[in-house]
Symmetry: C2
Subunit: 230 residues, 2 copies
C-alpha cells in the first residue's frame, strides 16, 4: 500500500487535526518539517495542505505558515436537483402538468429581479409536479423572453420548463431563498392541501452573465423535508 500519496498524507493530517493534536488556531509544522516527517517531497505536502485549505480545515499564509482554522465553518451543501430526478429518486413516477402559461406584464418585483424594461412582457407559467399522480410541488415561474426567446418553441408539455432551461442554459448562476409560508387558497388548491398549512418554499432566480433568465417560486407539499449533511 502506498503511504506517501498526497491523499494519505492529507487524511493523516486531517486526523491529527481532528484528534486535537494541534489546537484550534495553532500553527502546524512547516512544509519542510512535514515532508521530513513523512519522508516525501515538499511538493507532496504542499498539495495535501492546499487541499485541506480549500476544504476550510486550515488557513495558510505566506511566511505566516499554516494554522488550524480558528472557527471551522460548518458548511452544509446540497444539490438542487431537477424535480423529475427528485421525484424519481423516491421511486415514484414523475409527471407534470401545466396549469397556465401566458405572456404577461411582470409585477414590479419580478421586473426588478429579471431586469425587464417596463413595457415588455414575460412568460408566466404555473406548473404542478406530480409524484405517482399526487401533487409534489407547485411552481410559479417567470421567464425573461429577452434572454431565452426560444422557450416559446419548446415542447414544455413533454419537458418541464426547468429541464428545458437546464439543458439550454446549463452554466447559469443563481440564488436561492428558503422560507416557510402559510398556504393561501391558490397554493392549497394546487397541492390538494389546506389553507394555512405550513409550506416549504424555495424561491430561485437564475442568470447567466448579464442575462437574467428566470425566477420561480416552488411550493412543496406538506411535510416535505430538505435533507443535507455537514
Amino acid at each position: 500500500m502506498r503511504v506517501n500519496s498526497h491523499h494519505d498524507i492529507r487524511q493523516s493530517i486531517r486526523t491529527r487535526i481532528e484528534s486535537g493534536e494541534w489546537q484550534l488556531g495553532a500553527l502546524i509544522p512547516g512544509e519542510m518539517a512535514l515532508a521530513d516527517e513523512y519522508g516525501c517531497a515538499r511538493t507532496t505536502i504542499n498539495r495535501a495542505l492546499q487541499t485541506l485549505a480549500s476544504d476550510g480545515l486550515v488557513v495558510r499564509k505566506r511566511k505566516g505558515g499554516t494554522r488550524v482554522c480558528e472557527m471551522p465553518v460548518r458548511q452544509a451543501k446540497f444539490e438542487i436537483p431537477i424535480l423529475r430526478e427528485q421525484v424519481e429518486a423516491t421511486g415514484c413516477t414523475y409527471r407534470h402538468q401545466i396549469m397556465s402559461q401566458k405572456l404577461k406584464t411582470p409585477t414590479t418585483s419580478v421586473r426588478t429581479r429579471l431586469r425587464i424594461p417596463e413595457d415588455i412582457k414575460a412568460l408566466f407559467m404555473e406548473t404542478i409536479h406530480l409524484a405517482d399522480g399526487r401533487p409534489f410541488a407547485y411552481e410559479q415561474r417567470w421567464v425573461n423572453l429577452q434572454a431565452v426567446p426560444d422557450i416559446l418553441d419548446a415542447p414544455l408539455d413533454k419537458l418541464s420548463a426547468n429541464e428545458w432551461l437546464v439543458k439550454t442554459v446549463p452554466f447559469s448562476s443563481g440564488d436561492v431563498v428558503f422560507t416557510a409560508e402559510n398556504a393561501d387558497s391558490t397554493v392549497a388548491d394546487a397541492l390538494q392541501s389546506n389553507v394555512g398549512n405550513a409550506i416549504f418554499v424555495v424561491d430561485r432566480t437564475t442568470w447567466m452573465g448579464e442575462d437574467f433568465i428566470t425566477t420561480m417560486k416552488l411550493f412543496y407539499r406538506d411535510g416535505y423535508q430538505l435533507y443535507s449533511s455537514l
Copy 2:
C-alpha cells in the same frame, strides 16, 4: 501579468466551456494538446483540469480523456452559523435566555438518534435566542451526557450550548433537515407569534466519530429566510 498560472488557465478553460465551445458531455482536448496550446507544461494543465473536475465542471477518466460534465449538478452551499453571529450580522444585539434545563429520560426517537441506552438520562434544554430583545429563534435541544459530560459544568447562561459545543467539539459531523411547520402553542408562545403560523424549522443532529453528541430543533421567527447561492 502572468498568463500561464494554472489559475488563469483554469479560468480560461472554464470560460470556454461556459461559452459553449465544447458541448455538454463533449470530449475536450488532451492535456498534451492543451499544454501545447497554452505553451505550458502538462503538469500545469493537469492541475487546472483537476480543479475544474473537483468543481464538477468536467469529468476525467484515465484513457477516456476529459469531457464536459453531462449534467452539471447545481450545488447550493451555505454556512450554518452560530446563532450569535447570525444575529449580530444583522446589526442586532444578541442575547439568549434559558427557559428550562433538566435531566430527563429521552423519548424513544431521541434515544435512537443519540444512541442512548434505555435507562440513561440526558440533558434537555429550551433556549430562546433574542435579537435586540425580540425572539429570533426557539431551540429545543437534547445533549448526550455520555459523550460530553463536561457540559454540566459549563456556564451556559453566558455561552449558549451551541457555542460551547462548537468550541468543545469543533470537528463533529452532522446532518440537517429543513422543514416548514405550523407553530403549536409552545412554539407560538416562545416566539411571541401565533398558533398556526408557518415556521421555518431546522433539525440537526451532531456526532463525532462514534459519539452522538446532540440533537436539536430550531424554530425561527416568522418570515425568516435562509439565503444561499449556486
